[in-house]
Amino acid sequence: MSLDSSQQASAIPERAYAIGLPIAVGVAVLAVWQIGVAVSGISPVILPAPSDIVLSFNGITGELLKQGWATGSEALLAFVLSCALGLAAALVLSSSTIAFEAFYPNLVVFQIIPKIALAPLFTFWLGIAAPSRLTYAVFISFFPVALSTMTGLARADANALRLCQAIGASRWQTFFSVKVPYSLPYFFSGAKIAATMSVIGIVIGEFISANEGLGYYILRAQSYGQTARIFAALVLLCALGLLLYVLPVQAERVMRKWWRG
Protein backbone atom coordinates (compact mmCIF):
# COMPACT_ATOMS: atom_id res chain seq x y z
CA MET A 1 0.00 0.00 0.00
CA SER A 2 2.56 2.53 1.16
CA LEU A 3 4.85 1.55 -1.69
CA ASP A 4 2.07 2.05 -4.22
CA SER A 5 1.10 5.47 -2.95
CA SER A 6 4.69 6.66 -2.80
CA GLN A 7 5.26 5.47 -6.34
CA GLN A 8 2.17 7.29 -7.52
CA ALA A 9 3.11 10.38 -5.60
CA SER A 10 6.53 10.48 -7.21
CA ALA A 11 5.26 9.58 -10.68
CA ILE A 12 3.01 12.60 -11.07
CA PRO A 13 5.53 15.32 -10.18
CA GLU A 14 8.11 13.59 -12.40
CA ARG A 15 5.84 13.97 -15.40
CA ALA A 16 4.94 17.47 -14.38
CA TYR A 17 8.64 18.24 -14.21
CA ALA A 18 9.33 16.71 -17.61
CA ILE A 19 6.66 18.83 -19.26
CA GLY A 20 6.57 21.82 -16.95
CA LEU A 21 10.27 22.56 -16.72
CA PRO A 22 10.92 23.22 -20.42
CA ILE A 23 7.69 25.24 -20.64
CA ALA A 24 8.74 27.28 -17.60
CA VAL A 25 12.12 28.01 -19.22
CA GLY A 26 10.40 29.07 -22.46
CA VAL A 27 8.00 31.35 -20.59
CA ALA A 28 10.89 32.82 -18.59
CA VAL A 29 12.83 33.61 -21.78
CA LEU A 30 9.76 35.30 -23.29
CA ALA A 31 9.25 37.28 -20.08
CA VAL A 32 12.87 38.46 -20.01
CA TRP A 33 12.59 39.36 -23.68
CA GLN A 34 9.34 41.29 -23.12
CA ILE A 35 10.67 43.18 -20.09
CA GLY A 36 14.09 43.71 -21.67
CA VAL A 37 12.55 45.35 -24.75
CA ALA A 38 10.30 47.55 -22.59
CA VAL A 39 13.08 48.62 -20.21
CA SER A 40 15.77 49.23 -22.82
CA GLY A 41 13.45 51.06 -25.18
CA ILE A 42 14.98 49.27 -28.15
CA SER A 43 13.31 50.03 -31.47
CA PRO A 44 10.71 47.43 -32.52
CA VAL A 45 12.34 47.42 -35.97
CA ILE A 46 15.47 45.96 -34.38
CA LEU A 47 13.75 43.65 -31.90
CA PRO A 48 9.97 43.61 -31.39
CA ALA A 49 8.65 42.41 -28.04
CA PRO A 50 6.78 39.08 -27.97
CA SER A 51 3.55 40.99 -27.47
CA ASP A 52 4.26 42.97 -30.66
CA ILE A 53 4.71 39.71 -32.55
CA VAL A 54 1.43 38.33 -31.26
CA LEU A 55 -0.34 41.57 -32.19
CA SER A 56 1.25 41.55 -35.65
CA PHE A 57 -0.69 38.38 -36.48
CA ASN A 58 -3.72 40.65 -36.54
CA GLY A 59 -4.76 41.13 -40.12
CA ILE A 60 -1.99 39.05 -41.66
CA THR A 61 -3.00 35.59 -40.35
CA GLY A 62 -4.83 34.77 -43.58
CA GLU A 63 -1.90 35.66 -45.72
CA LEU A 64 0.58 33.93 -43.43
CA LEU A 65 -1.45 30.73 -43.61
CA LYS A 66 -1.55 30.98 -47.39
CA GLN A 67 2.24 31.43 -47.53
CA GLY A 68 2.66 28.71 -44.94
CA TRP A 69 0.61 26.35 -47.07
CA ALA A 70 2.86 27.07 -50.07
CA THR A 71 6.00 26.34 -48.08
CA GLY A 72 4.48 23.44 -46.15
CA SER A 73 3.09 21.58 -49.14
CA GLU A 74 6.41 21.85 -50.96
CA ALA A 75 8.34 20.76 -47.86
CA LEU A 76 6.01 17.81 -47.35
CA LEU A 77 6.47 16.73 -50.95
CA ALA A 78 10.24 17.15 -50.64
CA PHE A 79 10.23 15.08 -47.45
CA VAL A 80 8.22 12.24 -48.96
CA LEU A 81 10.36 12.21 -52.10
CA SER A 82 13.63 12.27 -50.20
CA CYS A 83 12.53 9.38 -47.97
CA ALA A 84 11.44 7.32 -50.97
CA LEU A 85 14.52 8.13 -53.03
CA GLY A 86 16.89 7.76 -50.08
CA LEU A 87 15.44 4.37 -49.19
CA ALA A 88 15.50 3.20 -52.81
CA ALA A 89 19.09 4.37 -53.29
CA ALA A 90 20.17 2.67 -50.05
CA LEU A 91 18.56 -0.62 -51.10
CA VAL A 92 20.12 -0.54 -54.55
CA LEU A 93 23.57 0.55 -53.40
CA SER A 94 23.63 -1.99 -50.56
CA SER A 95 22.53 -4.91 -52.70
CA SER A 96 26.09 -5.64 -53.72
CA THR A 97 29.34 -5.24 -51.83
CA ILE A 98 31.02 -3.57 -54.78
CA ALA A 99 28.28 -0.97 -55.15
CA PHE A 100 28.34 -0.33 -51.41
CA GLU A 101 32.10 0.11 -51.29
CA ALA A 102 32.09 2.29 -54.38
CA PHE A 103 29.30 4.65 -53.35
CA TYR A 104 29.23 4.80 -49.56
CA PRO A 105 32.43 6.89 -49.17
CA ASN A 106 31.27 9.21 -51.94
CA LEU A 107 27.95 9.72 -50.22
CA VAL A 108 29.77 10.53 -46.99
CA VAL A 109 31.86 13.14 -48.80
CA PHE A 110 28.75 14.62 -50.42
CA GLN A 111 27.07 14.71 -47.04
CA ILE A 112 29.93 16.85 -45.73
CA ILE A 113 29.76 19.46 -48.54
CA PRO A 114 27.95 22.58 -47.23
CA LYS A 115 25.09 22.10 -49.65
CA ILE A 116 23.59 25.52 -48.93
CA ALA A 117 26.34 26.90 -51.15
CA LEU A 118 24.97 24.86 -54.04
CA ALA A 119 21.47 26.34 -53.87
CA PRO A 120 22.05 29.08 -56.51
CA LEU A 121 23.13 26.41 -58.97
CA PHE A 122 19.69 24.87 -58.87
CA THR A 123 17.98 28.06 -60.08
CA PHE A 124 20.59 28.16 -62.78
CA TRP A 125 19.77 24.60 -63.84
CA LEU A 126 16.06 24.34 -63.16
CA GLY A 127 14.76 27.89 -63.29
CA ILE A 128 13.12 29.92 -60.59
CA ALA A 129 9.86 28.02 -60.08
CA ALA A 130 8.82 25.27 -57.68
CA PRO A 131 10.74 22.40 -59.38
CA SER A 132 14.02 24.13 -58.58
CA ARG A 133 13.18 24.58 -54.87
CA LEU A 134 11.79 21.08 -54.64
CA THR A 135 14.82 19.49 -56.26
CA TYR A 136 17.14 21.39 -53.98
CA ALA A 137 15.19 20.41 -50.86
CA VAL A 138 15.15 16.77 -51.94
CA PHE A 139 18.84 17.02 -52.75
CA ILE A 140 19.78 18.06 -49.23
CA SER A 141 17.27 15.77 -47.44
CA PHE A 142 18.08 12.70 -49.46
CA PHE A 143 21.59 12.12 -48.07
CA PRO A 144 20.76 11.56 -44.41
CA VAL A 145 18.09 9.00 -45.37
CA ALA A 146 20.30 7.14 -47.85
CA LEU A 147 23.38 7.17 -45.65
CA SER A 148 21.79 6.09 -42.43
CA THR A 149 19.75 3.36 -44.14
CA MET A 150 22.93 2.06 -45.79
CA THR A 151 24.64 2.07 -42.42
CA GLY A 152 21.74 0.09 -40.97
CA LEU A 153 21.79 -2.42 -43.82
CA ALA A 154 25.50 -2.98 -43.24
CA ARG A 155 25.01 -3.48 -39.50
CA ALA A 156 22.43 -6.26 -39.41
CA ASP A 157 22.83 -8.59 -36.46
CA ALA A 158 25.81 -10.88 -37.20
CA ASN A 159 24.17 -13.85 -35.48
CA ALA A 160 21.04 -13.46 -37.58
CA LEU A 161 23.17 -13.42 -40.73
CA ARG A 162 24.87 -16.63 -39.64
CA LEU A 163 21.47 -18.16 -39.01
CA CYS A 164 20.45 -17.23 -42.56
CA GLN A 165 23.59 -18.90 -43.85
CA ALA A 166 22.90 -22.02 -41.77
CA ILE A 167 19.36 -22.45 -43.08
CA GLY A 168 20.49 -21.86 -46.64
CA ALA A 169 18.88 -18.47 -47.25
CA SER A 170 19.72 -16.84 -50.58
CA ARG A 171 21.31 -13.42 -50.73
CA TRP A 172 17.97 -11.82 -51.51
CA GLN A 173 16.15 -13.70 -48.78
CA THR A 174 18.77 -12.60 -46.28
CA PHE A 175 18.55 -9.05 -47.58
CA PHE A 176 14.80 -8.67 -47.35
CA SER A 177 13.97 -10.86 -44.38
CA VAL A 178 16.82 -9.82 -42.08
CA LYS A 179 18.89 -6.88 -43.30
CA VAL A 180 16.00 -4.60 -44.28
CA PRO A 181 14.04 -5.03 -41.03
CA TYR A 182 17.20 -4.52 -38.99
CA SER A 183 17.90 -1.28 -40.93
CA LEU A 184 14.48 0.28 -40.23
CA PRO A 185 15.51 2.10 -37.03
CA TYR A 186 18.39 3.63 -39.00
CA PHE A 187 16.03 4.65 -41.81
CA PHE A 188 13.81 6.46 -39.34
CA SER A 189 16.68 8.35 -37.76
CA GLY A 190 17.58 9.50 -41.29
CA ALA A 191 13.95 10.39 -42.02
CA LYS A 192 13.79 12.58 -38.91
CA ILE A 193 16.77 14.56 -40.15
CA ALA A 194 15.17 14.74 -43.61
CA ALA A 195 11.98 16.19 -42.07
CA THR A 196 13.87 19.25 -40.82
CA MET A 197 16.16 19.45 -43.84
CA SER A 198 13.27 19.57 -46.31
CA VAL A 199 11.77 22.66 -44.64
CA ILE A 200 15.21 24.29 -44.62
CA GLY A 201 15.66 23.40 -48.29
CA ILE A 202 12.36 24.93 -49.37
CA VAL A 203 12.92 28.13 -47.37
CA ILE A 204 16.41 28.54 -48.83
CA GLY A 205 14.90 28.02 -52.26
CA GLU A 206 12.33 30.70 -51.49
CA PHE A 207 15.06 33.09 -50.35
CA ILE A 208 16.70 32.70 -53.74
CA SER A 209 13.70 32.73 -56.00
CA ALA A 210 10.01 32.70 -55.21
CA ASN A 211 6.90 34.80 -55.32
CA GLU A 212 5.17 33.00 -52.51
CA GLY A 213 5.98 31.03 -49.39
CA LEU A 214 7.23 31.96 -45.95
CA GLY A 215 10.82 32.47 -47.12
CA TYR A 216 9.59 34.95 -49.67
CA TYR A 217 7.34 36.57 -47.07
CA ILE A 218 10.28 37.02 -44.67
CA LEU A 219 12.41 38.70 -47.36
CA ARG A 220 9.54 41.02 -48.29
CA ALA A 221 8.88 41.94 -44.64
CA GLN A 222 12.58 42.57 -44.22
CA SER A 223 12.63 45.03 -47.11
CA TYR A 224 9.75 46.96 -45.49
CA GLY A 225 11.37 46.84 -42.06
CA GLN A 226 8.42 44.87 -40.65
CA THR A 227 10.46 42.94 -38.11
CA ALA A 228 7.43 41.71 -36.14
CA ARG A 229 6.09 40.09 -39.30
CA ILE A 230 9.39 38.26 -39.81
CA PHE A 231 9.01 36.82 -36.35
CA ALA A 232 5.37 35.94 -37.03
CA ALA A 233 6.48 34.01 -40.13
CA LEU A 234 9.18 32.32 -38.03
CA VAL A 235 6.55 31.18 -35.53
CA LEU A 236 4.65 29.57 -38.38
CA LEU A 237 7.83 27.99 -39.76
CA CYS A 238 8.53 26.43 -36.37
CA ALA A 239 5.03 25.01 -36.28
CA LEU A 240 5.50 23.67 -39.78
CA GLY A 241 8.80 22.03 -38.93
CA LEU A 242 7.22 20.41 -35.89
CA LEU A 243 4.27 19.12 -37.90
CA LEU A 244 6.56 17.55 -40.45
CA TYR A 245 8.79 16.07 -37.75
CA VAL A 246 5.81 14.33 -36.20
CA LEU A 247 5.38 12.20 -39.35
CA PRO A 248 8.57 10.10 -39.04
CA VAL A 249 8.24 10.02 -35.26
CA GLN A 250 4.75 8.53 -35.51
CA ALA A 251 5.79 6.13 -38.28
CA GLU A 252 8.67 4.99 -36.09
CA ARG A 253 6.27 4.32 -33.24
CA VAL A 254 4.20 2.12 -35.51
CA MET A 255 7.38 0.29 -36.53
CA ARG A 256 8.47 -0.20 -32.93
CA LYS A 257 5.08 -1.66 -32.15
CA TRP A 258 5.55 -4.12 -34.97
CA TRP A 259 9.09 -4.86 -33.87
CA ARG A 260 8.35 -5.38 -30.23
CA GLY A 261 4.66 -6.28 -30.16
Binding site: L163, W258, G261
Partner: protein
Protein backbone atom coordinates in the same frame (compact mmCIF):
# COMPACT_ATOMS: atom_id res chain seq x y z
CA UNK B 1 25.16 -46.66 -39.16
CA UNK B 2 28.86 -46.30 -38.58
CA UNK B 3 30.78 -43.24 -39.59
CA UNK B 4 27.77 -41.05 -40.34
CA UNK B 5 29.81 -37.91 -39.72
CA UNK B 6 33.49 -38.37 -40.45
CA UNK B 7 36.25 -35.82 -39.89
CA UNK B 8 39.69 -36.64 -41.20
CA UNK B 9 42.69 -34.60 -40.19
CA UNK B 10 40.70 -31.36 -40.31
CA UNK B 11 42.66 -28.14 -39.99
CA UNK B 12 41.59 -24.54 -39.89
CA UNK B 13 44.01 -21.68 -40.26
CA UNK B 14 42.87 -18.08 -39.97
CA UNK B 15 45.03 -15.82 -42.03
CA UNK B 16 45.04 -12.17 -41.03
CA UNK B 17 47.68 -10.25 -42.90
CA UNK B 18 51.00 -11.95 -42.28
CA UNK B 19 49.81 -13.69 -39.12
CA UNK B 20 48.37 -17.18 -39.34
CA UNK B 21 46.47 -18.66 -36.41
CA UNK B 22 45.84 -22.36 -36.35
CA UNK B 23 42.37 -22.61 -34.81
CA UNK B 24 41.96 -26.34 -35.38
CA UNK B 25 44.94 -28.57 -35.96
CA UNK B 26 44.44 -32.03 -37.35
CA UNK B 27 41.17 -33.24 -35.83
CA UNK B 28 39.81 -36.64 -36.71
CA UNK B 29 36.69 -38.25 -35.28
CA UNK B 30 33.76 -40.36 -36.31
CA UNK B 31 30.16 -39.88 -35.19
CA UNK B 32 27.74 -42.71 -35.70
CA UNK B 33 24.13 -42.18 -36.61
CA UNK B 34 21.98 -41.46 -33.57
CA UNK B 35 24.92 -40.61 -31.33
CA UNK B 36 25.03 -37.52 -29.16
CA UNK B 37 28.60 -36.32 -29.04
CA UNK B 38 29.85 -33.56 -26.78
CA UNK B 39 32.91 -31.61 -27.86
CA UNK B 40 34.45 -30.45 -24.60
CA UNK B 41 37.28 -28.01 -24.20
CA UNK B 42 38.40 -24.67 -22.76
CA UNK B 43 37.38 -21.48 -24.54
CA UNK B 44 39.55 -20.70 -27.53
CA UNK B 45 40.40 -24.33 -28.26
CA UNK B 46 38.71 -24.26 -31.65
CA UNK B 47 35.72 -26.41 -30.74
CA UNK B 48 33.17 -23.96 -32.13
CA UNK B 49 35.20 -23.59 -35.32
CA UNK B 50 35.20 -27.37 -35.68
CA UNK B 51 31.42 -27.43 -35.23
CA UNK B 52 30.91 -24.66 -37.79
CA UNK B 53 33.06 -26.56 -40.28
CA UNK B 54 30.85 -29.62 -39.74
CA UNK B 55 27.85 -27.44 -40.53
CA UNK B 56 29.47 -26.02 -43.66
CA UNK B 57 29.49 -22.54 -42.12
CA UNK B 58 33.28 -22.26 -42.09
CA UNK B 59 35.73 -23.22 -44.81
CA UNK B 60 38.01 -26.14 -44.06
CA UNK B 61 41.67 -25.25 -44.64
CA UNK B 62 42.77 -28.84 -45.13
CA UNK B 63 41.45 -32.28 -44.38
CA UNK B 64 37.93 -33.46 -44.97
CA UNK B 65 34.55 -33.67 -43.28
CA UNK B 66 31.88 -35.87 -44.75
CA UNK B 67 28.30 -36.54 -43.79
CA UNK B 68 26.70 -39.75 -44.96
CA UNK B 69 29.53 -40.26 -47.42
CA UNK B 70 29.48 -36.86 -49.12
CA UNK B 71 31.95 -34.08 -48.41
CA UNK B 72 30.67 -31.02 -46.57
CA UNK B 73 31.11 -27.94 -48.76
CA UNK B 74 28.31 -25.72 -47.44
CA UNK B 75 25.19 -25.67 -45.27
CA UNK B 76 22.77 -28.55 -45.74
CA UNK B 77 19.01 -28.64 -45.26
CA UNK B 78 19.19 -31.79 -43.11
CA UNK B 79 21.38 -30.09 -40.51
CA UNK B 80 19.88 -27.93 -37.76
CA UNK B 81 22.06 -25.42 -35.93
CA UNK B 82 21.74 -23.81 -32.51
CA UNK B 83 23.95 -20.94 -31.44
CA UNK B 84 24.99 -19.56 -28.07
CA UNK B 85 22.62 -16.68 -28.68
CA UNK B 86 19.02 -17.65 -29.42
CA UNK B 87 19.19 -15.42 -32.52
CA UNK B 88 15.46 -14.84 -32.71
CA UNK B 89 14.24 -12.09 -35.03
CA UNK B 90 12.74 -9.50 -32.68
CA UNK B 91 9.87 -8.55 -35.00
CA UNK B 92 8.65 -12.11 -35.44
CA UNK B 93 6.44 -14.01 -33.00
CA UNK B 94 7.54 -17.28 -31.44
CA UNK B 95 5.66 -19.26 -34.08
CA UNK B 96 6.99 -17.13 -36.95
CA UNK B 97 10.54 -17.49 -35.66
CA UNK B 98 10.19 -21.26 -35.48
CA UNK B 99 8.79 -21.34 -39.01
CA UNK B 100 11.50 -19.03 -40.39
CA UNK B 101 13.60 -21.91 -41.88
CA UNK B 102 10.42 -23.36 -43.40
CA UNK B 103 9.67 -20.05 -45.09
CA UNK B 104 13.25 -19.60 -46.31
CA UNK B 105 13.46 -23.15 -47.62
CA UNK B 106 10.01 -22.76 -49.22
CA UNK B 107 8.61 -25.87 -47.60
CA UNK B 108 4.83 -26.36 -47.36
CA UNK B 109 3.83 -24.03 -44.53
CA UNK B 110 0.61 -25.73 -43.43
CA UNK B 111 2.32 -29.05 -42.86
CA UNK B 112 5.13 -27.56 -40.79
CA UNK B 113 2.84 -25.29 -38.86
CA UNK B 114 1.33 -28.30 -37.12
CA UNK B 115 4.80 -29.58 -36.31
CA UNK B 116 5.85 -26.20 -34.95
CA UNK B 117 2.82 -26.13 -32.70
CA UNK B 118 3.62 -29.64 -31.48
CA UNK B 119 7.21 -28.56 -30.71
CA UNK B 120 5.96 -25.50 -28.84
CA UNK B 121 3.88 -27.78 -26.62
CA UNK B 122 6.76 -30.18 -26.13
CA UNK B 123 9.23 -27.57 -24.88
CA UNK B 124 6.62 -26.15 -22.54
CA UNK B 125 5.86 -22.91 -24.33
CA UNK B 126 2.10 -23.50 -24.48
CA UNK B 127 0.30 -20.18 -24.96
CA UNK B 128 3.42 -18.32 -26.08
CA UNK B 129 3.11 -18.90 -29.84
CA UNK B 130 2.06 -15.31 -30.52
CA UNK B 131 4.48 -13.62 -28.12
CA UNK B 132 7.49 -11.67 -29.33
CA UNK B 133 11.03 -12.61 -28.20
CA UNK B 134 11.42 -9.66 -25.84
CA UNK B 135 8.45 -10.95 -23.85
CA UNK B 136 10.30 -14.21 -23.09
CA UNK B 137 13.02 -15.11 -20.60
CA UNK B 138 16.46 -16.23 -21.77
CA UNK B 139 15.61 -19.89 -21.21
CA UNK B 140 12.34 -19.58 -23.13
CA UNK B 141 14.13 -17.91 -26.04
CA UNK B 142 16.59 -20.78 -26.20
CA UNK B 143 13.63 -23.19 -26.19
CA UNK B 144 12.26 -21.36 -29.22
CA UNK B 145 15.69 -21.72 -30.85
CA UNK B 146 15.55 -25.50 -30.24
CA UNK B 147 12.13 -25.65 -31.88
CA UNK B 148 13.44 -23.66 -34.85
CA UNK B 149 16.39 -26.04 -35.23
CA UNK B 150 14.03 -29.04 -35.05
CA UNK B 151 11.11 -27.80 -37.13
CA UNK B 152 12.37 -29.17 -40.43
CA UNK B 153 13.18 -32.49 -38.73
CA UNK B 154 16.90 -32.49 -39.53
CA UNK B 155 18.99 -35.65 -39.21
CA UNK B 156 21.79 -33.77 -37.48
CA UNK B 157 21.68 -31.11 -34.81
CA UNK B 158 24.76 -28.94 -34.25
CA UNK B 159 24.74 -27.01 -30.98
CA UNK B 160 27.32 -24.35 -30.23
CA UNK B 161 27.30 -23.82 -26.46
CA UNK B 162 23.55 -23.23 -26.64
CA UNK B 163 23.05 -22.92 -22.87
CA UNK B 164 26.25 -21.21 -21.81
CA UNK B 165 24.64 -17.76 -21.61
CA UNK B 166 21.92 -19.00 -19.24
CA UNK B 167 21.97 -18.98 -15.45
CA UNK B 168 22.83 -22.28 -13.73
CA UNK B 169 19.25 -23.26 -12.84
CA UNK B 170 17.85 -22.50 -16.26
CA UNK B 171 20.75 -24.37 -17.77
CA UNK B 172 19.93 -27.51 -15.76
CA UNK B 173 16.34 -27.21 -16.91
CA UNK B 174 17.42 -26.88 -20.53
CA UNK B 175 19.67 -29.92 -20.22
CA UNK B 176 16.70 -31.98 -19.02
CA UNK B 177 14.56 -30.56 -21.82
CA UNK B 178 17.22 -31.56 -24.35
CA UNK B 179 17.40 -35.11 -22.95
CA UNK B 180 13.61 -35.33 -23.36
CA UNK B 181 13.83 -34.11 -26.92
CA UNK B 182 16.52 -36.64 -27.70
CA UNK B 183 14.31 -39.46 -26.46
CA UNK B 184 11.41 -38.31 -28.61
CA UNK B 185 13.26 -37.27 -31.76
CA UNK B 186 16.49 -39.26 -31.93
CA UNK B 187 19.07 -37.47 -34.02
CA UNK B 188 22.78 -37.31 -34.46
CA UNK B 189 24.07 -34.47 -32.33
CA UNK B 190 27.25 -32.52 -31.90
CA UNK B 191 27.20 -30.37 -28.80
CA UNK B 192 29.98 -27.92 -28.03
CA UNK B 193 30.44 -27.01 -24.38
CA UNK B 194 33.04 -26.03 -21.83
CA UNK B 195 31.07 -27.55 -18.98
CA UNK B 196 32.35 -31.01 -18.05
CA UNK B 197 29.17 -31.99 -16.20
CA UNK B 198 26.96 -30.85 -19.06
CA UNK B 199 29.01 -32.91 -21.51
CA UNK B 200 28.78 -36.08 -19.41
CA UNK B 201 25.13 -35.53 -18.55
CA UNK B 202 23.98 -35.16 -22.14
CA UNK B 203 26.35 -37.12 -24.36
CA UNK B 204 27.00 -40.69 -25.41
CA UNK B 205 30.60 -39.79 -26.16
CA UNK B 206 32.82 -36.90 -25.15
CA UNK B 207 35.56 -35.59 -27.40
CA UNK B 208 38.12 -33.66 -25.34
CA UNK B 209 39.84 -30.78 -27.10
CA UNK B 210 42.82 -28.78 -25.85
CA UNK B 211 43.95 -25.29 -26.68
CA UNK B 212 47.44 -26.01 -27.92
CA UNK B 213 47.50 -28.07 -29.97
CA UNK B 214 43.85 -27.35 -30.89
CA UNK B 215 42.94 -30.94 -31.43
CA UNK B 216 40.99 -33.86 -29.98
CA UNK B 217 43.10 -35.55 -27.33
CA UNK B 218 40.59 -38.08 -26.02
CA UNK B 219 37.39 -39.80 -27.08
CA UNK B 220 35.54 -41.04 -24.00
CA UNK B 221 32.43 -43.21 -24.01
CA UNK B 222 29.81 -42.21 -21.41
CA UNK B 223 28.53 -45.40 -19.75
CA UNK B 224 24.94 -44.24 -19.15
CA UNK B 225 22.05 -45.37 -21.33
CA UNK B 226 18.89 -43.60 -22.43
CA UNK B 227 16.34 -42.50 -21.43
CA UNK B 228 18.64 -40.77 -19.00
CA UNK B 229 17.35 -39.78 -15.60
CA UNK B 230 18.44 -36.58 -13.79
CA UNK B 231 19.60 -38.83 -10.91
CA UNK B 232 22.55 -39.86 -13.11
CA UNK B 233 24.27 -36.69 -11.97
CA UNK B 234 24.46 -38.03 -8.41
CA UNK B 235 26.16 -41.33 -9.27
CA UNK B 236 29.73 -41.92 -8.15
CA UNK B 237 30.52 -43.18 -11.64
CA UNK B 238 29.31 -39.86 -13.08
CA UNK B 239 31.54 -37.83 -10.80
CA UNK B 240 34.51 -40.13 -11.39
CA UNK B 241 34.15 -39.60 -15.12
CA UNK B 242 33.92 -35.83 -14.63
CA UNK B 243 37.11 -35.91 -12.56
CA UNK B 244 38.85 -38.01 -15.17
CA UNK B 245 37.91 -35.49 -17.87
CA UNK B 246 38.97 -32.59 -15.70
CA UNK B 247 42.31 -34.33 -15.19
CA UNK B 248 42.73 -34.64 -18.94
CA UNK B 249 42.08 -30.99 -19.59
CA UNK B 250 44.31 -29.86 -16.72
CA UNK B 251 47.03 -32.36 -17.54
CA UNK B 252 47.17 -30.94 -21.01
CA UNK B 253 47.35 -27.46 -19.59
CA UNK B 254 50.41 -27.94 -17.39
CA UNK B 255 52.98 -28.78 -20.07
CA UNK B 256 51.58 -25.83 -22.01
CA UNK B 257 52.60 -23.43 -19.27
CA UNK B 258 56.10 -24.85 -18.93
CA UNK B 259 56.44 -24.67 -22.70
CA UNK B 260 55.57 -21.00 -22.58
CA UNK B 261 57.96 -20.18 -19.77
CA UNK B 262 60.57 -22.25 -21.56
CA UNK B 263 60.18 -20.09 -24.62
CA UNK B 264 60.24 -16.88 -22.65
CA UNK B 265 63.45 -17.86 -20.86
Amino acid sequence: MDGYIRAENVRKIYQSGKDAVEAVSGVSFVANKGEFIAILGPSGCGKSTLLMMCGGLEQITSGKISIDGTAVTGPRPNVGVMFQDSTLLPWKTVLENILFPVKIQKRPMAEYRARAEELIEMVGLHGFADKKPHQLSGGMRQRVAICRALVTDPDILLMDEPFSALDAMTRDEMNDALLDIWDRYPKTGLFVTHSIREAVYLADRVLVMTRRPATVVADIRVPFGRPRDPSVGGLAEFNDLCNELRGMIEHKRTPLRSERTGKAA
